[in-house]
Amino acid sequence: MKDSEHSYSRVRRLKNQIKAVVTNPYNVIVLVAIILLTYLIVFPLVDMLSRTFVLSQRDLRAVGGTGHVAGEFTFYYWQKLFASDLTKSLLVMPLLHSLEIGFAVSVGSIVLGAVLAWLMVRSDLPFKPFFSLAVIIPYMIPSWVKSQAWLSMFRTPRIGGSPGFFTALMLKAGISNEVIEAIIAPIAYGPLAIVVVLSLHYYAYTYLLVSAALNSINSELEEMGEIQGASKALILRRITFPLVLPAMLSAVILTFSKAIGTFGVINYLGSPVRFRTLSSELYSNSQSQNTQIAFAMAILMICIAAISVFINQQLIGSRKSYATIGGKGGRSTPIGLGVWKPLITVILLAFFVVAIIMPVLILILESCMLQQGTYSLENFTLYYWAGSGNPDIMEGLPGIFKNEQFLLSLFNSCRLTLVNGVFGTIFGQILGYICAKGRGRFHGKLVEQLVFIPYLIPSIAFGGIYLSMFSRPQQLFGVTLIPALYGTFTLLTVTSVVKHLPFASRAGTSNMLQISGELEEAATIEGAGFFKRFIKIVFPLSKGGFISGFMLIFVSIMKELDLIILIMTPSTTTLPYLAFQYQNNNAPQSSDCVAIVMFSIVFLVYALANIFGDADLAKSMAG
């Protein structure tokens, strides 16, 4: 049978090729995923981008002259950003500040998170179950609560208000205002404060990623080093560190992009010293209805993040995988901390008291004060929790448990977080599967990049674009493909799911990377189709990670407000909306109550998942 004996048919080849693509569910899913992501992510992005080139009605006055009309093509916004008198104060300085914060927070979070992860996973630290539960709490506490706590410790007399705890102590000791100012002010506000507070928030990412990586390292590798006579420091540096480096790089991306994108803490702690970053400029411009400038800035930030993702892909993309399921189970022998154990334990306990228990305590305390800022027993009340509407207090607003709107919002929030958690996680796992299987290939990289974009599109912009896209039926040739979704719960869900895909798919990717490809191939050989494989092999093996992915989404959607406020209708309000409304309504105590309820739900679900589902947020983010 020589080659020439084969008849060759172009038609057959084409037929086979099409058949192969169409009948392979993996291809179909990749295709569907790419199309959907393009529709749900690229479309909003292009919408944003194109708006930055269109002159808005409100900027006609600035452009001046008569030759211009609203809606015409313009470079006005980009020029204003890159080549005008404002460039320095609008772009350059804020950008430098952003990078400064981004790098410093990355370093801080990485160090803190990695040390904690190592202590939790590899050392013989006592009270590990408690610590590992506590270590994740900062991620659940809204960052503004932490900023508030920070100021209530360090606030100086110059900026007014009641002095912070430390400042008050110094004042009592008779130290003059000027000296206090010189010592405390640099700590209290500005970059240092921001970096510390943000690091205390975002170290969770590193902790999650690195502890997952550490978990998958066979301790024999370290023991081998010990046998060779290496010191513990050398083992850490030469063996452990390189093994968890990819996880750290991943954490750097998440932390860095989040740190340059965050606004609340920077505004809170940066304002008193006029420390502004790209994100604060973005927010200010958006609040000043300079939407186009804000969009242009958001696009810049997306570019920065995309570059960091790209670098990450280059750095760790070539690594084979971290397949730990299917290989030999690694033994893990804790490393003795020796004489340092009591000291480290005490430091950790102190850390948790300061970073976790304090903010929560302050929040609870404030929710129980009849008048804010008056620290006395008579001032203590449970009115804001369960009072039944006294017209003298807060304009007759009843305590939250007596308030129908609270109950409605509670129901809505729970529904939204649960539904989103489930759907988000499923999509995340599927996308993670694509990223993992397509690692180093074009479609894998594409999906990984696409999925990361919503991470940085400002929530408000994202919500607004979705409102436009889905408020009327999507039609093609007169056939309605997607009915108008505005005002429906579905739209809330779609928006939240897409916005949280970066987390979900990150969790999914690491999950899938842990599953050795041969396990699936073995099933292929047995004749199991794609779906059978997914249901019988892939899904059961990733169950733990599934629950963790669910938790990640659950936590962040529980806190979400900006994203869905545009899409919300009066009957679909959620707890964060209520908290915001109370704050607006001069009822900060009620707002605190709602925040505590939110936190409690999140913590309860996390604790339950931790106890019963052997879920671990950590497992869900490696890779």
Binding site: D85, E281, F531, P570
Partner: protein
């Protein structure tokens, strides 16, 4: 297996088509603002009951249906019409006090249901715009502030308006025309300077606005960064308007006894004031609450003074603060007027108009709709409604002239000016 494959192939096709449709749908979504289809049906039935058939040819279908330019309808007429139009009305508001209006409104007009949604200025505008573009008009009434005149210039005074000013003649008769020229005003708020009455029991240490630029007050004035939002951005713009700048120049001379010398890049005394204020290192806070807290907290030996929303005076009671209001000379800047609009294409225009009349205090002496807004730190626009207890009468407060046209034109320039200061 084969079932799955077919199913998937079909799904894929659907998704691809959906993708195409989205692109198509997106490109057309930015265009014209035709009324929602839901409004066309009542338009036919409601059109017959409208009272002003004149000039109908120039009006859009919805404008006829809503009879939006009528100024002489009575509460009773509107009530009946509202019932015919479904008995519902929906309001988006920047105030969290609207639920109280809702209760009073529903009690006064049985059969009407009012839905309220409170949301911040930006989100409100974004939401209404997006809904309107998509033809999914939900809100009938919008309660917002037209800070820099952009609502008037961009949403009302344009060929295809998204918002309409409803101008009930009987009520407008009681309002200063400078506030009704471009909007239907509800009540007035101010940005005021506060001081700590505990630290300064003899009264405000500052009376003339230029004192804030003295070295004595360097780093001791709290405010929000004017760049942070449109309210503060407009407030600083107010100082740079021509008439106000002249007042500032006069005040300067009165304080220092000499004419003001303008720096490079400062076209008038207003810009000069902003420049010097900026150079005096004001302390920015992230919110109006925080600026007020910084000033009003008791037990401070050397507290700052600070600009804050006038409504924060109420926190004296809630939080045991000791804020004192300064009636600044020449003035405290421009007022922030809360305004009400009817949304184009809405399905319940009669109820919307009725609700607006009710909120503005009506004409029958029932102030139930206005009461929730008549609190300390907010002033009625009407001359026949008394202000809240404890407030200085509005007429005695020094307020800058309010010229929407000029504000609108200068807003960008002044904001950029402040941005350039760093």
């Amino acid at each position: 297996m084969y079932k799955h494959k077919k199913w998937l192939a079909a799904l894929m096709a659907v998704v691809m088509i959906a993708g195409l449709a989205a692109c198509g749908g997106g490109s057309s979504s930015g265009g014209s603002t035709t009324p929602a289809t839901t409004t066309t049906e009542p338009a036919q039935s409601g059109g017959e009951t409208t009272t002003t058939p004149a000039a109908t040819s120039d009006l859009t279908e919805w404008e006829q249906f809503a009879n939006i330019f009528a100024t002489d309808e009575t509460d009773e007429e509107l009530y009946q019409l509202a019932l015919e139009q479904g008995g519902e009305v929906s309001i988006y508001s920047i105030s969290s006090r609207t639920p109280k209006v809702k209760e009073a409104f529903e009690a006064k007009y049985p059969g009407l249901t009012c839905t309220t949604f409170d949301i911040k200025t930006n989100e409100l505008l974004e939401k209404v715009t997006r809904e309107h573009e998509a033809g999914q008009t939900v809100a009938d009434v919008v309660h917002i502030k037209d800070q820099d005149g952009s609502l008037f210039k961009e949403y009302i005074d344009v060929p295809d308006p998204m918002l309409y000013n409803y101008k009930p003649a009987d009520i407008f008769a009681h309002i200063d025309p400078q506030y009704t020229a471009t909007a239907t005003p509800l009540y007035i708020e101010l940005t005021q300077l506060f001081y700590n009455t505990e630290a300064y029991p003899d009264g405000s240490p500052i009376t003339n606005i230029w004192q804030l630029t003295d070295p004595e007050w360097k780093g001791k004035v709290t405010m929000q960064n004017p760049l942070d939002n449109i309210s503060w951005g407009t407030w600083i713009t107010g100082f740079c308007c021509e008439e106000e700048a002249e007042r500032l120049a006069v005040a300067y001379k009165e304080l220092y006894g000499e004419d003001i010398v303008l720096s490079d890049g400062c076209p008038n005394a207003g810009y000069e004031f902003l420049k010097r204020l900026h150079e005096n290192d004001p302390i920015y806070y992230a919110s109006s609450d925080a600026t007020a807290e910084a000033v009003g907290t008791r037990g401070q030996s050397d507290p700052p003074v600070g600009f804050s929303a006038s409504s924060k005076i109420r926190k004296n009671k809630d939080n045991d603060w000791c804020l004192g209001v300064v009636n600044l000379y020449p003035d405290t800047g421009i007022p922030a007027v809360n305004t009400l609009y009817v949304v184009e294409g809405c399905a319940h225009p009669a109820a919307a108009k009725l609700l607006i009349r009710y909120m503005m205090g009506g004409v029958d002496g029932d102030l139930g709709g206005y009461k929730p807004f008549n609190t300390q730190g907010g002033w009625p626009v009407r001359d026949d409604i008394p202000g809240a207890e404890g407030d200085m009468p509005y007429s005695e407060i020094n307020v800058a002239p309010y010229n929407v046209e000029e504000l609108y034109v200068s807003y960008n320039t002044v904001r950029d000016f402040w941005q350039m200061l760093g």
